[in-house]
Symmetry: C2
Subunit: 148 residues, 2 copies
Amino acid sequence: MAVDLDDIDWAIIEQLQQEARISLSELGRRVRLSASATTERVRNLESLGVITGYHAVVDLTRVGYPVLAVVRLKYPGNRHQPLHRLLAERREILECLRTTGDDCYTLKVAATSMAHLEVLMGELADFGSTTTSVVYSQTLPARGPARP
Amino acid sequence: MAVDLDDIDWAIIEQLQQEARISLSELGRRVRLSASATTERVRNLESLGVITGYHAVVDLTRVGYPVLAVVRLKYPGNRHQPLHRLLAERREILECLRTTGDDCYTLKVAATSMAHLEVLMGELADFGSTTTSVVYSQTLPARGPARP
DNA sequence: GTCTTCTGCCGCGATTCTCCCGGTAGCATC
DNA sequence: GATGCTACCGGGAGAATCGCGGCAGAAGAC
């Protein structure tokens, strides 16, 4: 499952984690490789599934979602289909992790207001008992892994 | 704080959330605008702080971090500096949210093995009591917000 | 030793994109 | 109707991308 990556691969990954929109020639300059060799490396990392995508990140508050919450969902049954349907419909749910422990799922939810959050919590409560924590701040800007 | 965005801005945001490395001309084609107008809009979204960055996402397993965990940290004191230092040093900590409720912080941690996770948990336990849940799977690929 | 194959890199030319500019349509304001 | 303003378009210089052939070094066969 794990792919082995040399220093240059890691340098490429670090750069693209930070600034995904730099040109391949600029990236090549930074990792000291020609543009064509860099292109080949990047394509390779993509097709190996090491790099899974490139995403713009937006400021949730500035686009109208000032409320962010972490929800833990304790889900008694085994019937996961309806939850999956909700995840697909409700774009306010930004992330959903299935975990060990008492709380089967941990979700990250964005809301336009506390009233909106209340509505979303109502929908989630259909599936089991929830524990909600509102986020004060992102202490860390989300980031990717470094070389082990 | 919130910026008001029209349909075209949202179309641009949606496209760049999905595929951040498309060219500005291609983006322009998709949102039915000339390349130069598109460029101007994107620059504007960046300088308004709506778009905060572009990041490559990697497959954690394929780069050597097969273990992902969500850690809740109950932090009794008020002295947050040491934790901030740990966050800066330890790149295995991918995300850190400060939240309401009993557990002051919620972290996302990547580890190379359970043994490695154990070490990381030991370091976090210095700050307070922790609750760790290992992640089975990401039910949802992390995504950004849609138009409210 | 040397022949073959393979891998990773480079350089080149055709196409495409980016960047910066001036120009213009629409819409207020005076 | 003159003036500014905003958002857009088009054009041209320069840069980036893409696909190709070619080359150096390593590995393996004999």
